[in-house]
């Protein structure tokens, strides 16, 4: 695991690099907001397993997330997509593959990549719904009324599940869906009734209050990503 930086149109951000620096490379996009904390060690486990299979990867901090100096409230969906594209350009390889989890699958839409691998993808509306529901539940507990209708721009950022989020980001997410252009493989959990190319046994770590990991599932997914990259190369 090597710390590094990448450049994008709005500045530069940190990224972690795993595995070999030649050959195909995977750029990982974590789930959005609180779900990122709950799945970080799981995603790192997948990237380490990919490294053992000879596939390098990058885990970029997006503007307003991780160690970024940008405030979360200044993050926008187009910033995130441009940063993801910038990360791909910084890596400058021929064969770049996107790996997105949950809301992270919304970020690779504009990047120059050879293929997409989406695990448990959701559309942006589901991300926003989840955030609002958390606020409604917390408000109910505190006895404070919360009005889900007052999130539209313009106006100040809104605090949802511990993040100050711009109204424009919420509005853009509401209409965003994962891109399925080009070679795209969709993986889901067995418990997920929606269609997918492959289903894996496991629990949704992004729902757990305590960050967890699932090494067995991480290996299954890494094997499947490696196989789909091999198919792309063939």
């Amino acid at each position: 695991m090597t710390p590094s930086t990448y450049r994008w149109s709005g500045g530069s951000e940190a990224m972690l690099r795993f595995g070999p620096t030649t050959g195909p490379v995977v750029i990982a996009a974590m789930p959005l907001f609180e779900e990122a904390n709950r799945t970080r060690s799981f995603i790192v486990a997948i990237l380490r397993a990919l490294a053992e299979r000879g596939i390098g990867s990058a885990l970029p901090d997006l503007p307003g997330t991780g160690d970024s100096l940008t405030e979360t409230e200044h993050a926008t969906l187009s910033n995130w997509q441009e940063a993801f594209s910038g990360c791909a350009m910084t890596l400058g390889r021929d064969r770049i593959h996107a790996f997105g989890v949950r809301g992270g699958t919304l970020l690779d839409a504009t990047a120059a990549i050879a293929s997409r691998y989406h695990f448990a993808p959701i559309d942006g509306n589901a991300v926003v719904r989840d955030l609002l529901r958390t606020r409604l539940a917390a408000a109910k507990e505190d006895g404070v009324p919360a009005d889900a209708g007052t999130i539209a721009p313009p106006g100040p950022p809104i605090t949802l599940a511990g993040n100050r989020i711009s109204r424009q980001l919420l509005a853009d997410l509401t209409v965003a869906a994962p891109s399925t252009v080009g070679p795209c493989r969709i993986a889901r959990l067995d418990s997920d009734g929606r269609p997918g190319d492959v289903k894996f046994p496991g629990a949704p770590l992004w729902r757990r209050a305590e960050p967890g990991n699932d090494p067995a599932l991480a290996v299954l997914i890494a094997d499947d990503i490696a196989a789909s990259i091999a198919t792309c190369a063939a």
Binding site: T134, L136, A137, A161, S191, A203, R207, G212
Partner: protein
């Protein structure tokens, strides 16, 4: 509703409680209709309720409106299964 459907929903609600709250399979297997949930399970706070509802929606393919959510449906395991069954056939 067929008994098979009810068994299926019962199993789905147990699995969602296990996965969202991080409970063991043995623990959720031991839930009976009258087993108290909200207020009795320390893992089930308001944030977990939000995750629980969303996960139920995703697995049962239903939509739960926020104004349908009250203390009663989360009072016992049986009440939650009844609520989920009502949504699944509605």
């Amino acid at each position: 509703m067929l008994p098979d459907d009810i068994d299926q929903i019962d199993a789905t609600v147990r699995a969602v409680l296990r996965d969202v709250l991080g409970l063991s399979q043995e623990r959720v297997d031991a839930f009976r209709s009258e087993t108290p949930l909200f207020g009795a399970l320390p893992e089930l706070d308001s944030m977990a309720v939000a995750g629980l509802l969303t996960e139920l929606e995703e697995r049962l393919g239903v939509l739960i409106e926020d104004d349908e959510v009250d203390g009663e449906m989360l009072e016992t395991f049986g009440a939650l299964v009844r609520f989920a069954s009502g949504k699944a056939v509605g």
